[in-house]
């Protein structure tokens, strides 16, 4: 009797261990099956008539997406954010949210993809942050090609794209695949939001004008250091890369280069390999040696910069109108009531010139776009749900939230209520707006200029856009091009090595650990890491883009 019991136990344990390890295989196999199925359903379904919201459905869809940075201290999950609750009410589709940990979106997505256990919808930057790009994501079987689905079930998005062929060109791949519900900056005004920021009260006190040329900047920063006692006259965020905002061409633009690829007279160039970059290194090296730059500049993160701004150690930086001026103005005022932050134009070498680069986003921003996965139970429902953002009522909802709660219509102008602008719980407008609407950040909708007119509460913020937009960035920046899946893995390997090299070189030369003369040898190293091949790939992708 006893013996039988023991052997039964042993058998059970063996069986348990076996099944545990065979279940390891299941997700992948299961998904293979799914891929086929969903492909079929997508083709089988007939075009439906216009959807009336809210949709009547019992199905619950799963949605994976990051919680906006503004809301980190406000809400831990999507369910605590009124916007996401109202979104479900408006569309009638119940959603189950999963949020990756803030700052680890890429890692979290990676783990999720490797597990093979996908939600119905994924909010992610497939163009910029998915190695291999959207075409690869479709080919590898993670997300659906949406052409048919959009054609039949997303009349609002379809109409928008038909009315805006230039944007239509941007949101698809070379082979014409739609891969996500895009985030579109609906107006020119929304595309510029970042640039140099400086303490106006210090300038006035010292009798200096707002700096325009590089020489002005040197003079101004020196004055900040000597007369205002600023310990770190110029400081910037260097996470994840040194002088992160220089990617848009701040200060680099004066020397005619940017940190990435750009086009000039039909030729694609890589900024750090052009001679202008050496001039930039020379300038910053001098500034660092003279104590005009933050001593911790290689490691400073946004927290450190906030602290320096607030304490008056820093008098100039590069940042956003909302997240920069808007965030710092109350901080600097807290320490010095007279303090005023204003936008400074992108610097140039000689007065009167137009800088070659500055921040200017494309109308299609690939962040915050929503793709439908191959494991989606009901892709049609997901498409109908997402299409809401491009409808007229969805447009108002995404930008301004719920009428009567977060905005009121006044003579056809959606005006944010005091709940958002003068929040009773003392939330900053940026936080309160993010709680009730998505106007201030990205998502599957078309952004409305009227949001910015109210979001930029300060006159200095509204002026900033006008000051920063004076660049030639449009002419030189590359459109959202997509290398083919084969090219892109090669491209990623090359650029990963080159970017590491550029980051290292930039810091070493600026911080004075290597002589400026080393620059040439770094350029040679870039060449030996196959920079030319990377340029070739970019060029081919650009040609395909232009031929779209």
């Amino acid at each position: 009797m006893k013996r039988r019991l023991t052997s039964a136990l042993i058998l059970m344990m063996l069986a348990a261990s076996l099944s545990a390890c065979s279940s390891n295989n299941n997700p992948a196999a299961g998904n293979n099956g799914n891929t086929g199925n969903t492909g079929n359903t997508a083709n089988d379904t007939e075009a439906s008539g216009p959807v009336t919201y809210p949709i009547q459905t019992d199905e619950k869809l799963s949605y994976w997406g990051e919680i906006n940075g503004n809301l980190i201290s406000v809400a831990a999950t999507h369910d605590e954010i009124p916007f996401f609750q109202d979104w479900q009410k408006q569309t009638g589709v119940p959603l189950k949210f999963t949020a990756p940990p803030t700052g680890q979106v890429k890692e979290a997505l990676n783990v999720m993809l490797a597990s093979g256990d996908l939600p119905d919808m994924i909010e992610y930057n497939f163009l910029g942050d998915f190695p291999g790009g959207p075409e690869k994501a479709i080919n590898d079987g993670y997300i659906l090609k949406l052409n048919d689905l959009i054609d039949k079930h997303a009349p609002n998005l379809k109409k928008y794209l038909q009315d805006h062929p230039d944007i239509d060109k941007m949101v698809k791949t070379d082979s014409g695949s739609y891969y996500a519900f895009p985030f579109i900056r609906g107006d020119e005004f929304l595309r510029v939001f970042q640039g140099p920021i400086i303490r106006k009260d210090w300038l006035d006190e010292l009798g200096l004008p707002v700096p325009e040329t590089i020489d002005d900047w040197t003079k101004t920063l020196t004055a900040f250091k000597e007369k205002k006692g600023a310990a770190a006259p110029f400081s910037v965020v260097s996470k994840p890369r040194f002088f992160n905002e220089s990617g848009n061409g701040a200060f680099l633009g004066a020397f005619g280069v940017t940190r990435g690829f750009y086009q000039e007279d039909g030729v694609i160039k890589f900024g750090p390999a052009e001679s202008g970059f050496k001039e930039y290194l020379k300038l910053f090296r001098q500034w660092y040696a003279d104590g005009l730059l933050d001593k911790n500049i290689a490691t400073s993160d946004s927290k450190a910069l906030d602290g320096n701004m607030a304490s008056g150690a820093t008098g100039a930086s590069v940042g956003n109108a909302g997240g920069g001026i808007g965030k710092w103005q109350p901080l600097v005022e807290g320490n010095d009531p007279k303090a005023v932050l204003v936008a400074a134009p992108y610097p140039v070498l000689n007065k009167g010139e137009t800088p070659k680069f500055g921040q200017k986003s494309q109308a299609y921003a690939s962040e915050g776009t929503v793709a439908i996965t191959t494991s989606a139970k009901d892709p049609v429902l997901a498409v109908e749900m997402l299409d809401y953002g491009y409808s007229e009522e969805g447009h108002l909802f995404f930008n301004f939230g719920t009428e009567g709660v977060s905005y009121n219509m006044e003579d056809g102008y959606p005006k944010y209520t005091d709940l958002l602008l003068k929040n009773p719980d003392n939330l900053a407008p940026a936080q309160a707006i993010s709680k009730y609407a998505r106007g201030s950040y990205n998502g599957p909708f078309v952004q409305d200029q009227r949001y910015a007119e109210q979001f930029f509460a300060l006159q200095t913020q509204r002026d900033a856009v006008g000051i920063w937009k004076n660049t030639d960035a449009d002419k030189y920046n590359l459109p959202p091009i997509t290398p083919t899946p084969e090219e892109s893995s090669e491209y990623a390997t090359i650029m990963n090595d080159i970017n590491t090299l550029v980051d290292e070189m930039t810091l070493k030369i600026i911080l004075g650990q290597e002589p400026l003369e080393q620059y040439e040898s770094y350029v040679d190293k870039m060449k030996s890491l196959k920079l030319d091949r990377a340029i070739e790939i970019q060029k081919a992708a650009l040609d395909r883009y232009n031929a779209r």
Binding site: T6, L9, I10, M13, A16, S17, A20, C21, N24, N25, A28, A29, N31, N32, T35, K106, E107, N110, V111, L113, A114, S115, G116, F130, P131, G132, D140, G141, Y142, A231, S238, R241, F242, K295, N296, A298, T299, T374, A492, T493, N496, D497, T500, D503, E504, T506, L507, K508, L511, Q513, L529
Partner: protein
């Protein structure tokens, strides 16, 4: 150590009777055998079964195709890694940081244990122990935050230097300072915790030996060198062997939290490289090839260390 245990109390048996003996042993100790099953199952499920996942190092892995369904690429990923521009730098950094920690960090808890052993006051002993092992329980993220703050241009440590007339620079911006900062903070973090095992070993040393030594007029230093140290030597060598097996597993979390492009030159190690390649660039196959390479070297080091230890002081894991 292990050898003497298994050899003790058993008669040598002829091979023919081995099966018979096993069955009898099984009958007598069946519940002991039963208790072993969960342990075996644990190792099988969590340590052996996932090993087939190492296959992806030889494939172009795509999760949607599954491990078995992905295409074979042979040694391509190993080839890519060995030919990569940063291969030698990463390997060198890994080895250097590992050996530094072996030389500087490994002896630290032993020294601490010896020191604590010499303390006479019981309460002071307890306080000293508690204080030294406290940092072990602080989250790594917090530790790294503390390190970054302390080593800033205007941090505490530079404040001291400035006081003595040196001009401080952010220390984490200097490649040559990365390793000392890493190792020193590592010692601070783990010294107390790791000394516990040596303190436990010290407890088992026969007190009579000390009494006898004192009779013979041995000083405290002499007692330490001739009784205490030999007493814990077996523990030290086993710890050393175990450590050799992990030599190349430099903790990537701490490196990643502390490094930045300017210190890549001295800080970038195999595991942080694997992290960047695998998790940030979705290069599963490539990073598992690198990880496999790492494990093979570790295995080799472990076997060598064990062999040397067996030859030198007759003390080994197997």
């Amino acid at each position: 150590m292990a050898k003497t245990q298994t050899g003790a109390g058993q008669r040598a048996l002829a091979p023919a009777r081995t099966t018979n003996r096993f069955l009898r042993d099984f009958r007598i100790n069946k519940y002991l055998y039963l208790m072993m099953i969960p342990v075996i199952a644990y190792y099988f499920i969590f340590h052996y079964a996932p090993m087939y996942g190492a296959l992806i190092a030889f494939k172009e892995y795509s999760p949607m195709k599954g491990i078995l369904g992905s295409d074979w690429v042979g040694l391509k990923h190993f080839h890519d890694f060995f030919n990569s521009y940063y291969f030698w730098r990463i390997l060198k950094n890994t080895l250097v940081i590992s050996f530094y920690s072996l030389i500087f960090e490994f002896p630290a808890p032993i020294i601490l244990a010896l020191l604590i052993n010499e303390i006479r006051s019981k309460s002071f002993k307890r306080v000293a122990q508690t204080i030294t092992y406290m940092p072990y329980f602080i989250s790594l993220v917090v530790i790294c935050g503390i390190i970054t703050d302390f080593t800033n241009a205007d941090g505490v440590i530079n404040g001291l230097f400035t006081f003595f007339g040196y001009d401080g620079q952010a220390m984490l911006q200097k490649p040559e300072l990365f390793r000392p900062i890493y190792i020193l903070s590592e010692i601070w973090q783990r010294i107390g915790w790791e000394s516990i095992i040596y303190i436990a070993a010290l407890m088992s040393i026969d007190v009579e030996q000390y009494e006898a030594a004192r009779m013979d007029g041995a000083s405290r230093i002499k007692q330490m060198f001739y009784i205490t140290l030999p007493g814990i030597l077996p523990t030290i060598s086993i710890m050393l062997i175990l450590r050799m097996g992990n030599l190349l597993n430099v903790g990537f979390e701490k490196i990643i939290l502390l490094y930045n492009p300017i210190t890549y030159e001295t800080a970038d190690v195999i595991s942080s490289f694997v992290y960047r390649k695998g998790l940030l660039e979705f290069g599963w196959s490539y990073s598992s090839a690198v990880g496999l390479f790492n494990s093979v070297i570790n295995l080799f080091l472990l076997i060598t260390a064990n062999y040397v230890s067996r030859k030198v002081n007759k003390n080994s894991l197997w």
